[in-house]
Symmetry: D2
Subunit: 302 residues, 4 copies
Amino acid sequence: MRNVALKLGCTLIEDAFAEAFPMVFSRLIVTALDDHWLQAAVREMTGYSSSVIACDLECGVEEWLTPDRTPDGRPGASLLAFGFSAKSLEAAIPNRAGQCIMTCPTTALYDGLPMASRRIALGKHLRYFGDGFQKAKRLGGRRFWRVPVMDGEFIVDDRAGIESGVGGGNILIQAVGLHEALHAARRAICVLDSLPGVITPFPGGVARSGSKVGSRYPKLKASTADAYCPTLRGRTETRIAERAECVLEIVIDGQNEATVGHAMRVAAIAAAGDGVVALSAGNYGGKLGKFHFHLHELLRSS
Amino acid sequence: MRNVALKLGCTLIEDAFAEAFPMVFSRLIVTALDDHWLQAAVREMTGYSSSVIACDLECGVEEWLTPDRTPDGRPGASLLAFGFSAKSLEAAIPNRAGQCIMTCPTTALYDGLPMASRRIALGKHLRYFGDGFQKAKRLGGRRFWRVPVMDGEFIVDDRAGIESGVGGGNILIQAVGLHEALHAARRAICVLDSLPGVITPFPGGVARSGSKVGSRYPKLKASTADAYCPTLRGRTETRIAERAECVLEIVIDGQNEATVGHAMRVAAIAAAGDGVVALSAGNYGGKLGKFHFHLHELLRSS
Amino acid sequence: MRNVALKLGCTLIEDAFAEAFPMVFSRLIVTALDDHWLQAAVREMTGYSSSVIACDLECGVEEWLTPDRTPDGRPGASLLAFGFSAKSLEAAIPNRAGQCIMTCPTTALYDGLPMASRRIALGKHLRYFGDGFQKAKRLGGRRFWRVPVMDGEFIVDDRAGIESGVGGGNILIQAVGLHEALHAARRAICVLDSLPGVITPFPGGVARSGSKVGSRYPKLKASTADAYCPTLRGRTETRIAERAECVLEIVIDGQNEATVGHAMRVAAIAAAGDGVVALSAGNYGGKLGKFHFHLHELLRSS
Amino acid sequence: MRNVALKLGCTLIEDAFAEAFPMVFSRLIVTALDDHWLQAAVREMTGYSSSVIACDLECGVEEWLTPDRTPDGRPGASLLAFGFSAKSLEAAIPNRAGQCIMTCPTTALYDGLPMASRRIALGKHLRYFGDGFQKAKRLGGRRFWRVPVMDGEFIVDDRAGIESGVGGGNILIQAVGLHEALHAARRAICVLDSLPGVITPFPGGVARSGSKVGSRYPKLKASTADAYCPTLRGRTETRIAERAECVLEIVIDGQNEATVGHAMRVAAIAAAGDGVVALSAGNYGGKLGKFHFHLHELLRSS
């Protein structure tokens, strides 16, 4: 029967859908001598990358890799970088990599999509930093560059594969208070942290400044999602569930529709719990984004 | 006598100078409910900001602030953001803050240079995200904005002060091996971490891809500092000290000449030690940068 | 119907029960000036406390507390410490607190069970360190001690409440490989991290050296759970699920039976997933421990 | 001339000595699959080990080891564990290792003093946990045990070397306020972190509850160092420097007298600075401890 409320424990699952968009992405494998320098490189590379609305790409850690799972047997991380086009990725990735990875002691940078047919320049651009002293190296059909730097050589793949992906999957956590919302969000994030194929690009994985399309200022294309702002309850048409006093959003970019849907599902299951009144999802009416993820479909199929 | 070698323990201090540049900077105070979200915001805000050569600004943590030292009694961080002009800061800072701080649960953002006479827009721009629901608030002669977001309100100063500073102070650590160089660099960074008035914008505070001006490729304005690349020893005129096999650079931006000089001095003292053959400093011949920091002067005055 | 297999996604839930024991516990609230010193104190206090088989108590972080939730408005942590008797807690807790909390800069230590009728000495013992200079202080019906130390005063509750609890709830994660088992365990631990009323006392929350009662050496009361050791598959009667090659255990101590059962349930839901063949639970035949947690009951009631 | 004040910048170096004691120590190398589990094991193993006054040993991280520096090519840590006798180490170390390392997923445990002629049992005791399924393994003249556990095998050296060391080297930081003292202490600790041959066993490396021998309570052998408690200035014969309002102690255990002296020296250099009025050292009159480290001698020889 359609009208029976769907619940995860005490948490209501609203009959809502997340609206997501076609994007392209690259997977970059960063390695370093030890965890200290790996973290330093990853922190630099994944900063200022929460949303392509105003950042050059959306970038985050897909997985931390133990040494047995990296190309050079060192600790590593798999990063996913999403953009709206191959062109935007080709502009952003080599520049970021040059500033954030090449600069960082002991790091190397590998293509994480070697089988992808679409490819952008990576080392192909960065190698010029070597001022003619760089050397090409062929290994297993792949071309690498060895760029001389002050701690030795920076190893980087000539090119990086890109593939089609999905950006903007999301869930909205509505809780009785800030404390409960933050706990629920952190539960969801830590479950997503080990899930391959997805990233959560916002700070700590969470966005609190949800947005709607448009604003009363002509120049501004997006503005606060007033319907989800608890302080605006009396001044705007609210969509906040009764008893909820705080809303947080988890935005998920992933390698395909199935992965994003699965991630939304496990995030919802982890986020539900005491003090979480309802889970919802954000959309723009359904006309902007090609992908629609209905919470009820995701959670009924479990 | 001029020619007596200057040493810190077993480490030779070369008679070299760092060449640094006039920059402008802003100090931003970020606070959050707890350390988890503070770190999330700071990580996002200070990423992709190692060098203004290819980043929109150079940004890092000046100091972590205990709750008794922040405007709202919460844990905080003081960030310094350096650019080449007020204009570049005014373009970069509100955009970054909107993507990295405003989005992050529980954060607030304050001007850390309230006495500065030169000021750029901060909340003045960001407030529009509130879509008309934002409210101005005056407190102690300062104007703040309260922008409604999904976890409550984002508090942000209307404007941020800017001041003249110095970018590009540096020391070069030359060690017998990678291991020794990394240890020396980490000692220097951790001493700099608690020093007010300076940041070290590179990943983990350290740059391994030192550069020289120009390259053999006409389009590229900077390329690898081949004179400091150990793998190029036989192929270029090296400046690496005998017995050294690894070089790392610590780049320091600071609020004025005295602060940068002091920071170079304490960094040098911390970096010197077993396995560190020599300390040097990087310059471009002295004609590009207005500030010259001579290692011998800095270390003899101690 | 009894014989239909219970599954969470692709993960089989074995029809097994965890056998747990009556214990007593205390809740201690540690606060510090900032997160750095809070972490330092908590790390010291919660080390060497994985199992009362050979440690003086089982101790872990129940929750990290934001400043608005602690007695003195500083960042804090709620610790739970479990022992077999009030007497063992009264021996272990003041000694640990004196070595691990009182020594740590800026900390204070509060009773987290002020309503409990059974109470042990806390500051009542520690105060003597003050050598007569300590001062009693009454606040809201509670008695505190102000012990003079080199950074000011150490504030500590005179007594700490104790209550009956449950130790030894557990789930066994059986995965196709080490990698999958570790990921599943970390998912479970991070969901448990925000759950009030429970701790997971083993390193990182996880035990890999599961034990059985007794051994072939008369003096040794416990030995490796050979039935769950993958390398012993051919040499002992194994209980490892087919296709599983790695087993990890999550041990849960909690404030009562309901809380431990709930925690086992959410841990199981978080741990299930790709590569996790089966979830089970550990017991000693059912005659040793008073509490039996049947996985099927816990997971069917959801 | 003897009476000229010795200063490091603005910080007075008092003419004081640290009184330290003969101890014995063992070096243990812990490795794990990745940094996450390494940290988990080290945290468990090095907790509750600040002082042998009331802990079974004093244990801390000597160095973090990159994979190229460990016996099995995995990330590792070198731990030093100090006790008053070989007997106390042989009682404490296997018990701790069994609870804190053997239990922790993916870890292995190696003797870090293989050339030492004095040796205690390590795997020799722990192997019995294997219940007869354990296997001996000889490699390069060393005997290891392979103990079957649920994630595979726990590899552990049969024995661990022990050597004579020095416990209780220290400096006392006297600053104008808590903030300045904490910063100075953290500078010192981070420089000591990369120094081989020493540990700083207190929480975060720092002790704020300095003690004197004896108390007015007959049973208590040690009590607060009232001479260094700022709140007792008017009530006791203070030794706190004028203008200082906060004192913190850094206690250093090391492998021999030279190493401890060197560590005290680099700690003093790092701690000195603005807001640090004076550096001193703690002793018991000089009759209890065999080793006397005079600050002036350490710092004049630089």
